[in-house]
Amino acid sequence: MTDQTLSPEATVAAPPAHAIARKPVSDAVAGWLLSLPLAGVLLFFLVLPILMIVVVSFWGATEFSIYPAFQFDNYEFLLTSPVTYQVFFNTVKYALITWAITLVIGFTVAYFLAFHVRSLTWQVVLFLLCTIPFWTSNIIRMISWIPFLGRNGIANSTLISMGVIDEPLEWLLFSDFSVILAFVHLYTLFMVVPIFNTMMRIDKSLIEAAYDNGASGFQTLVNVIIPLTKPGIMIGSIFVITLVMGDFITVRFMSGSQKANVGRLISNDIALLQYPSAAATAVILLITVLIVIAILLRFVDIRKEL
């Protein structure tokens, strides 16, 4: 009230400046300015590196150096070698098996936390317990399987003393088994977190309604909870599948360099300084991963789920 009576000129003069500042055009400018650092980082350390890999995949290499060229030799070699297909098959195999196991474990854990733990405090505490390993070193977590799985490790000596086996099992460490075990160990929480997040947003009255209409616990799970949890499952699946497909270090470490996936193919070429060939493999891996993501994204609108 006092404002209006004191200085009519000021109030008349001020609004136009404000009005201009709030026009949609300036929203765009503000958006650009605020996302500038982000866009800069992504441009220099994501977009340019990908372009560089695509370019170098057409280059040639000698034993010591690489030289600019435009040749399809790298792709030709890659796509005609039976090793490539075998390694891609292995990569997909690891991804599918790990995905299935992490999905079952992750869903069960999230379901327990969301629907069977009743106090919010306990939910938070137990949820944190599940997520803490995410913030610790993956390499250490891989190393810590050695005392379990080795020839004289805990698993073998326990089984022998129980009389289940006479000789130590050789396939526990440095095998597909240990690779997948490590993947499940490292990545299950990528399933737990998004699935739990979606479950917590399910309206509890829907579940009561299902019970009131005579549904059993299992029917409620299959017909109400699972369909409503689908977005979380999809996001978790995207995480697990891309992490496993892009991995090279877990496979190398847990298989004692005896198994191969695409990531290892790339890292071996890098170690031999065969960057063009590594780049060609990387391009094909990237295309594969993006196709898988595109398929999974058809089932979920990520922007809506945040």
Binding site: G31, L34, V56, V109, S144, F148, G150, H185, A282, R303
Partner: protein, 279 residues
């Protein structure tokens, strides 16, 4: 759901087993790191000692782990601060759609799902072909941001999706400028979540391996150093190192969680200032 059903106990047992699976190996190497001087990489324990921890302090036994630890620490802090600042700015930008926001959004998703080794290889190639030297604080720093920023931004998107805009409108109605609104209203409200973003920024950087592999240059970060050790160290000294860095990670996580707890408590204490302005 009044009474505990049988499925509750079944699921609780499953959950317990999951926790054992999650933490069992870590606890095992923690125990084995106290192996006696003659002990090996697995049980039985041949005595109990801190021999292997002492080894960590001898340069020739383990290489440059303290140098790599301090580099990882500095890099982690750099990445943490950058992640928080860039994520908040990005989060604010994405509250309104702007031309190009869709592209940036899909770049963020790409950054999250792209195999780490591609970032490592690509950044390494750019630096080597343009005659720049790779160094953990330049190429390594940038590569790690492609991993921490998506997490920071996803958290910020989630935060701002649930943000009650009426607080800001109230501030604006009281004559606050855009900057004042952000500084005195928005930031204090989202502060606990920023601690979460900082936690992601620091720990993901501190533990990052694949994206730093070809971008760290001649001075290793700690995960690279540890990985190097796995190929040539066959004594429990590696368990001692693993235990120490895991304890360090736990301390960092506990610190962050404690800060969030204190902030929330302080907020609920001061939460309502209804009537205070009148007196």
């Amino acid at each position: 759901m009044e009474k505990r059903t049988r499925s509750f106990y079944g699921l609780a047992a499953f959950f317990g087993l999951f926790l054992v699976f999650l933490y069992g190996p870590t606890i095992t190497i923690a125990i084995l790191s106290f192996q006696g001087p003659g002990g090996g990489l697995t049980f039985p324990m041949r005595g109990v000692s801190v021999h292997w921890f002492a080894d960590l302090f001898e340069q020739q036994a383990v290489g440059d782990i303290w140098g790599s630890f301090s580099r990882s620490l500095v890099l982690g802090l750099m990445v943490m601060v950058t992640t928080v600042v860039v994520s908040v700015m990005g989060g604010l930008a994405f509250r309104k759609r702007f031309p190009g926001s869709g592209i940036v959004f899909y770049l963020i998703i790409t950054s999250l799902v792209i195999p780490s080794i591609l970032v490592s290889l690509g950044v390494g190639l750019i630096f080597s072909q343009s005659g720049l030297t790779v160094h953990w604080s330049t190429s390594g720093f940038g590569s790690q941001l492609t991993w921490t920023l998506p997490f920071g931004l996803l958290i910020m998107f989630a935060v701002f999706n649930r943000f009650d805009k009426s607080y800001e409108e109230a501030a604006r109605d009281q004559g606050a400028s855009a900057w004042q609104t952000v500084r005195h209203v928005v930031l204090p409200i989202i502060a606990p979540m920023l601690i979460g973003v900082a936690l992601f920024g620091f720990t993901l950087s501190y533990d990052e391996f694949a994206r730093t592999l070809l971008t760290a240059g001649s001075h290793n970060t700690l995960p690279l150093e540890i990985y190097g050790m796995t190929t040539n160290v066959t004594t429990p000294v590696i368990f001692a190192l693993g235990t120490l860095t895991t304890v360090f990670s736990f301390l960092i996580i506990a610190l962050f969680i404690a800060v969030v707890g204190v902030m929330n408590r302080r907020r609920s204490r001061r939460g309502s200032d209804a009537g205070q302005g009148l007196v």
